[in-house]
């Protein structure tokens, strides 16, 4: 129950100042009343848009989640395969680990213009931006986790007759799965950041696009619920990953 207290405090503070400002000036747009916000949510989520005939709230959500999902899936595949290879094969580690380290330090937003120039303003640019921002971090994390496995385990597997391939398949890879989920959870925040940045600059739908679009009209009644909705989505994704990890990899929690 104690954990609810800060939320209650923030909401009541908002209500107090919103009320105070609206008494002063009924036309105030900065801190809209709950009824105004509810009306905006109703208009966006449950009424067709006059021009496009779409339910904007859900179109935006669908577009953003699709971009995020594809980008995270690609990042996971790259992260797992390269992290595994770098972690297991010392030659590969010596050859490309410094390159990956350098790559992961490039601020992805700085190369967003390059992406727009090279692959255009479409979906590919936005997904690529997220992948560039997230994948190198996952690669480095998983490579370190793979290299961290106790040497005793590797030697033991060899004395049980394991070839390098079997070692990867039965010993290293299964122990990396829960680490991959951990890495994805930690990357969710930056993935959303890159998504919203890309949508803000060049897009025709998406949660980030909408926020930046209505900013011109000072439409706080749309921005605030959108931010809350994004937070809820991010929180749910994190929660789903956490539950998935506990369900699929019970052994990893008992350590």
């Amino acid at each position: 129950m104690l954990s609810i207290l800060p939320f209650v405090l923030v909401v009541s503070t908002y209500l107090f100042y919103s009320h105070a400002r609206l008494i002063d000036n009924p036309g105030d747009k900065l801190l809209p009343a709950p009824a105004t916000i509810a009306a905006a949510i109703h208009r966006l989520a449950f009424e067709e848009d006059e021009r496009s005939g779409e339910y904007l709230w859900w179109t935006d959500t669908g577009a953003s989640l699709q971009r995020l999902g594809i980008a995270l899936a690609i990042s996971a595949v790259i992260g797992l395969s390269m992290g595994l290879a770098i972690g297991v094969l010392p030659y590969l580690r010596a050859a490309i680990a410094p390159f990956v380290a350098a790559l992961s330090l490039i601020p992805p937003l700085a190369i967003l213009p390059i992406l727009f120039i090279v692959v255009g303003l479409g979906e590919v640019a936005k997904i690529t931006l997220i992948v560039i921002g997230v994948a190198p971090v996952i690669v480095r994390d998983l490579a370190m986790r793979a290299a961290e496995l106790p040497n005793e385990q590797i030697i033991k597997a060899q004395t049980l007759g394991a070839s390098t391939w079997q070692l990867v398949l039965r010993v290293v890879l299964p122990q990396l799965w829960p680490r991959l989920i951990d890495a994805l959870r930690l990357c969710l925040g930056s993935a959303w950041l890159f998504l919203i940045a890309a949508e803000a600059i060049a897009s025709t739908e998406g949660l980030g696009y909408r926020i930046f679009l209505v900013r011109r009209y000072l439409a706080m009644d749309v921005i605030l619920p959108y931010v809350a909705w994004i937070t809820l989505l991010a929180f749910s994704m994190d929660w789903v990953l956490k539950v998935l990890r506990a369900k699929l990899f019970a052994w990893a929690d008992s350590n």
Partner: protein, 244 residues
Amino acid sequence: MTQVTVKHLWKEFGTQVVLENVNLHIGDHEFVTIVGASGCGKTTFLKMLLGVEVPSRGEFLIDGERLSSEPGSDRGIVFQRYSLFPHLTVLENLLLGLELRSAPLLGRLFGARRRRALEKALPLLEAVGLHSAADKYPAQLSGGMQQRLSIAQSVICEPKILLLDEPFGALDPGITADMHALILQLWNTHKMTIFMVTHDLKESFLLGTRLLVFDKVRLDPQAPEAFGATITFNIPLKGRRRSS
């Protein structure tokens, strides 16, 4: 029949001599216990026998053949810790050796082949007293249970030689007696040669058919790294165990 011969073995790390001129012959089905002060090359000796360290000079021969320079399934190992696979249950840990051997591509057995592997694994699981813990993960086991599983995991592959690196060093004294009985029973059933490094002199006399003491014969106070250790005592313990 497994014969282990060590000829003029030296091991150096840079200028530091760890082992010098070790010569040894071990006959079939011996239980060799190795004792000595810290840092006198017991573990290095075991690592070379395992194949993770390479001798600087000299050689190991098993049945007249040079030792392969990588760990392989003819030599099993039980470390003090960390030699179980945390993502596999007790039964899966035990089956792993059989699966790796018979399924080179997937490392897993299915159907009838898995049932045949289980027929071999379950009695051994019973013998090491882990039958009721078959579905648990290693982290849920006590230290003694973990070591029993680790031993069984190696024994199921029927290695010619089993190497034990202070396997009972981290266990409660109360458990060690059970562990001693277990390892002797497995040694007698499976007829392998055992090399065991230990800190416990009493244990080494109790278990071994042969006791090796590693120590430095010469010492230069100005350059303590100049001379290495060797086997200073090689005591046959007159097959007390074999008759019993």
